[in-house]
Symmetry: C2
């Protein structure tokens, strides 16, 4: 049985950073931008998914009806999907499947997160609820520590250096300078990264993404519906993949790779009937600099152990042969947990519709998103092309 | 485009009540029971959804990878779906759609909730996070108060009496006596209900479901897969519906009805090409006695304003013409939030496979589940038949 063709027809997002608004209000702003961009009235939306991980910290679950009511379409069903930091990619996939299956013709997916009402300590604690808490968070292993462990393993196995990790941050901050919605607008040098305060050795402050509030929204539609309604197809979704992995880092045989990324990308490429060589750029999950290095190797952009060198050579810059995180990535654009995976899709939309301004990758035809939950307990990968 | 046929092939659940186990462990027990019941090895599972609402109260989000790892199948993707008290029904629907679309052939859906580590006050507060918290929970309107408001409205409009509400509780407690996994095993009288302490007038303790821990699991498969593997089809899923409604009660025109229930059941019946007259029994969302009355009218079992009378006449008892909540319902079986909607499907499985023991509805061929989030911000309805 074949799935229907599904198009990505609009995208919107708030600026990422610190906000005084609630998660629900941020979600409404992002959704409104996506709707207005294509002059779509809310009543054209038939179903929705919300991506959110820590809404309970705002004393608010069950976000769907609140967001749909805020848009004036309370009847529209909207469940929340959570898979820690890959909540967005997971929610996007289910919307894709709902439309591909013919259940709905037009869907809205909104990712949102508000975290700045919490102190850094409390926010870090909340984030550890995405780990295997009993064996990790409760034992003092927060995400910087877990990713630091992966970084150490990668440095030992492949002689990756702290300078090379720093170059990921420098490149992503450079891209973020060109993204007005990015959380961090600050050009940094390798020296700045190396001299920044240690968060969990070898990861320093500038190896780490910031705590961001923000929301991102996209609209998907069946190509049948678009033809019938004389709307532009914009972007086609070619493939979707989702996979799991051990929730806890200590359960894994290898800490230099995230198996769920490998499996999710394999599924996505199989469904798209493409290979990594066909991809012109990618938004990957760089919650820490090491995460981008590991993603490049897991997704197959380079051979094992060669990612750091590729970064060093400038191959992943906007003008390189494999641009990674043109948006600035989680590192500079920011990481509002539930919004992140949807925000990656927003960037693909901007790039493939040639609306990325100064950070536009010229002639890009195929883009991908790669969204990881925690240290790899979940991954979601999607592949897109311009029509 | 037509969806593939999907079968419900197994079901398992923990006892509902107070447990010392964590939500993840409860989920594993329920999943294990569902797998063992049909002698299925975990590796046959290709994808999963977890239904859970308040895992963060246990300091644990991102339950999917933990539960899949516990089953020995860490690679299997498993996002969490949340829609307050209708998390289970919503998760079930997405698994149904994934299989119907041909994305997977075999899926596990596990609903789980652990709440008894919290005091009654804190648990009640957590539950209000499923309401429109800023306008309801934060203003002191917890769910007993919100459903009490609906009860008052129904009493004023239809002359429904407290005695009639009590009869819902008496009937569900009677059914729960025949369900060894039910939380409350206590035969009660109308007098007992009327004399129990007032929670929020006119709702009394025995009008209210208990706080339960528990988990429930079901396994779904494509009929293609079952034929290929020589497995029994057991139960067919005929229709699925999901809808939203205003998150806050004060936004609605009418408090005697839940519009999302009406819309979700309309979708489910349309997809099944059936009407309510075809249904032999239903598991409906009776978080309070008034909720069962409203559900009977919204689903169309009786005319508006006639449900209380039908209960009074014994029509909804096990031996009545429209048995409602043979399991004991949320009222007596219990209401472990994320598990509830899946637990309803477990009861349909027991009934349609004639494994319901003393509470078996003889000759039942078509059953339905009706799962409501909060005061109706979300609803999910499913219709099943024996093959």
């Amino acid at each position: 049985m074949s799935l229907r063709k599904v198009a990505l027809i609009s995208a919107g997002s708030t600026s990422y950073g610190k906000s005084l608004l609630t998660g629900r209000d941020l979600a409404l702003l992002a959704a409104k931008e996506a709707l207005e961009r294509i002059e779509m009235m809310p009543y054209e939306i038939q179903g929705a998914f919300i991506a959110n991980a820590f809404g309970l910290s705002e004393r608010q679950g069950h976000l769907g009806p609140l967001i749909m009511s805020g848009l004036g379409i309370p009847d529209i069903p909207a469940s929340t999907i959570e898979a820690a930091c890959s909540s967005g990619g997971s929610a996007f996939r289910e919307a894709y499947i709902n439309i591909a299956a013919g259940v709905y013709d037009v869907m809205l997916v909104v990712g949102t997160e508000k975290i700045s009402h919490l102190s850094t300590e409390v926010a870090t604690t909340y984030f550890t609820f995405g780990s295997d808490y009993l064996f990790e968070g409760a034992c003092g292993a927060s995400f910087p520590g877990l990713y630091a462990t992966m970084a150490i393993a990668h440095m030992q196995k492949y002689e990756t250096t702290q300078e090379q990790l720093a170059q990921v941050a420098v490149k992503n901050h450079e891209n973020g300078m060109k993204n007005e919605k990015a959380h961090l607008h600050k050009r940094i040098s390798v020296e700045d990264v190396l001299q920044s305060s240690i968060v969990a050795y070898p990861l320093k402050m500038y190896d780490s993404c910031p705590f961001s509030d923000g929301a991102a929204a996209v609209i998907l539609a069946s190509e049948d519906y678009l033809k019938k309604n004389g709307r532009d197809e914009s972007i086609s979704i070619l493939g979707s993949g989702r996979a799991g992995g051990y929730g806890s880092l200590h359960s894994r045989d290898d800490m230099t790779s995230i198996r769920s990324s490998i499996l999710a990308s394999r599924e996505a490429f199989n469904r798209a009937n493409l290979s990594i060589k066909d991809v012109d750029f990618a938004e990957v999950h760089d919650c820490f600099t090491i995460a981008e290095i590991i993603a490049m190797e897991d997704l197959g952009f380079v051979e094992r152990g060669k990612a750091a060198q590729a970064v060093e050579q400038g191959r992943t810059r906007l003008d390189g042969d494999i641009p990674i995180n043109p948006s600035g990535g989680l590192k500079s654009k920011g990481h509002p947990i539930g919004a992140t995976g949807i925000g990656q899709v927003v960037e693909v939309f901007e790039q493939l519709t040639e609306n990325a301004g100064e950070r536009q990758i010229k002639g890009a035809k195929i883009g991908m998103t790669h969204n990881v939950g925690a240290t790899g307990g979940s991954s979601a990968v999607h592949i897109f092309t311009r029509s």
